[in-house]
């Protein structure tokens, strides 16, 4: 019996380690590539571990035309996206969490449906409209579209968060003399804050990662992914590797912070 248990445990850990290696190795490779000197990176055979760690390749990437401005653009667009999604979406999330009203299910279904909307169908017509509105090639325009993509998620995440804040606490505050708004601000909001931070990070990552709409909607004011994509066919390989590294790293950090909410978001159970 215990031998079978041992064998089972061994198999489980072997499988887990295999999967873990499969997931991690590409990330390790790109990090190694970013710190490999340019000459070694392009030589054959390429050393897996560089002879010495150097910042040369990263410097080359950062000094390339348009990279630093696009990095800043990306941060700006992502921050605007966060602001728009939360300001617009959090009230709806609260409504879905707190009230039973006619059309609630229809609204939730509609929210889910928007997730099926292909980005090209969003970006191409909006580019034409944005030219008319004077929003083409502007960071605000890109943020508007990113926010549209993030809004359904924001509503779903925030509603999950507000469901987690007991309604009774708000009602207690109201019986003690708070107004509806006062009860929300003093009781529900502070309790929901960590969750809202996760929702914000999710919107940030979504915007930071998005490339199709960004590249369609801009010409000079590129975000980082758009800048890299637009130059993909001409750029040297080492430039592209470091580009991949730069785009991936912040996202990994954010994943760490939002990991608790990932499961809630997909209609599942939160932490056990």
């Amino acid at each position: 019996m215990s031998f079978r248990r041992l064998r089972r445990q061994t198999l489980i850990y072997l499988a887990a380690i295999t999967v873990g290696v499969w997931v991690l190795v590409p990330i390790v490779f790109i990090a190694l590539a970013a710190f490999t000197p340019r000459r070694e990176l392009l030589s054959w055979p390429r050393p897996i571990i560089p002879s010495h760690f150097s910042l040369e390749t990263i410097q080359f990437f950062l000094k390339a035309t348009g990279v630093l401005p696009s990095l800043l653009n990306s941060v700006w667009v992502a921050l605007m996206t966060v602001a728009i999604t939360l300001v617009v979406g959090a009230p709806a999330g609260y409504a879905v969490a707190r009230f039973f009203f006619r059309g609630r299910e229809a609204f939730r279904l509609g929210i889910l449906m928007t997730r099926m909307f292909p980005v090209p169908l969003l970006a191409i017509p909006l580019a034409v409209t944005f030219i008319r509105w004077g929003l083409y090639d502007s960071l605000v325009g890109v943020a508007f579209v990113h926010a549209a993509m993030g809004l359904p998620f924001a509503v779903i995440i925030t509603s999950g968060i507000f469901i987690g804040v007991p309604k009774e606490l708000e009602e207690a505050a109201m019986t003690l003399g708070c107004s509806r708004l006062g009860a929300f601000i003093r009781v529900a909001l502070p309790l929901a804050l960590p969750g809202l931070a996760a929702a914000a990070m999710f919107a940030f990552v979504l915007s930071w990662n998005e490339v199709f709409a960004s590249v369609i909607l801009t010409l000079h004011n590129r975000t980082l992914p758009a800048q890299i994509l637009a130059g993909l066919r001409g750029a040297p390989l080492d430039f592209r590797f470091v580009g991949g590294f730069f785009m991936a790293m912040p996202a990994l950090l954010f994943m760490f912070f939002i990991r608790k909410y990932l499961f809630q978001m997909w209609g599942g159970v939160a932490e056990r």
Binding site: I12, F101, I124, R180, F212, L232, F263
Partner: protein, 290 residues
């Protein structure tokens, strides 16, 4: 007292709270949908035309792009569902360290498609890590060329691998969430009745997991239809897909009408696939019942 008042006077409040979201979504989803159809079927003067669609159909990229997009979806999505199912069952054994393992597995979820494509580019290029490892193991003398127009099969394979690596995590998250919702009581009942592990899986876990499997399948299929940056990073021109054709017509040929026609095709394709999936899954359910 207050409570009743709060319930009664606030009947309109939820609608006010929903209003910004509704307005925003109408403006940014419904409006582009309508104007995409308008762009692809109407001349700038406002007459109905099929010219743009015909140009798309006659585009030398169109058929290959359609084929590759379908093939990619049909290859990647089933692979992802099977892998994610296996990993989620592994997580569900709740071995020591399974939470950390799960976190590790969903890491690629934060990585963009473009970054993932470039990460795998560093592995698959001529002097890339794969060739370097094969060489240092003594398996090859000269680098193998994975990414070249002569071998679209290899390019396709690399795209499949990169997509699998990047986007299996989303299926995994959905399935793990679904597994957690399955009450242990059912499994214990099956055990009491003498079910073997594979029977428990086949007759208890799998049917109860079906809603999650269904939504994972649909979400992934829809996203697979828009596949873009991974293909651009790894394949460039070598493997055309619908989204890259739309991008090309928009950004290089300045033909937004044709680009819009491609966007409409992507939408139509994903709606069609979703309907087929719905149909297929419902049929299967009836088959099991009878």
């Amino acid at each position: 007292m207050k409570l009743r008042k709060f319930l009664r006077t606030d009947t309109l409040l939820p609608y006010w709270l929903l209003l910004p979201t509704l307005a925003y979504l109408l403006l940014f989803f419904l409006f582009p949908l309508v104007s995409a159809i308008g762009l692809s079927f109407r001349t700038p003067e406002g007459r109905f035309t099929t010219e743009y669609f015909l140009r798309m159909l006659n585009d030398r990229l169109f058929l290959p792009a359609l084929r590759y997009t379908f093939f990619l979806a049909l290859t990647v999505v089933p692979l992802q569902v099977i892998t994610a199912l296996a990993i989620s069952l592994l997580v569900n054994t709740r071995f020591v360290g399974s939470r950390f393992f799960l976190y590790l597995c969903v890491l690629p979820l934060g990585i963009s498609d473009l970054a993932a494509g470039l990460i795998w580019l560093s592995i698959f290029t001529r002097h890339g890590y794969l060739n370097s490892i094969l060489y240092s193991l003594g398996l090859i003398e000269r680098p193998l060329v994975f990414l070249s127009a002569e071998n679209p099969g290899w390019v396709f394979m690399s795209i499949v691998i990169a997509e699998h690596w990047r986007a299996t995590a989303i299926v995994l998250v959905i399935l793990v969430a679904g597994l957690q919702m399955i009450s242990r009581d059912y499994l214990e009942a099956a055990e009491v009745l003498g079910a073997r592990p594979w029977q428990k899986f086949l007759y208890v876990t799998l049917p109860l997991l079906k809603p999650s499997l269904q939504s994972a399948l649909i979400i992934r299929t829809i996203f697979a239809f828009q596949v873009f940056a991974v293909v651009e990073a790894l394949g460039g021109h070598m493997v055309p897909v619908l989204a890259s054709a739309a991008y090309e017509w928009y950004a290089f040929y300045f033909q937004r009408h044709v680009a819009a026609a491609y966007a409409v095709i992507i939408m139509a394709g994903s709606v069609l696939m979703t309907l087929i999936l719905f149909r297929f899954l419902r049929m299967r359910r009836e088959m099991i019942r009878t």
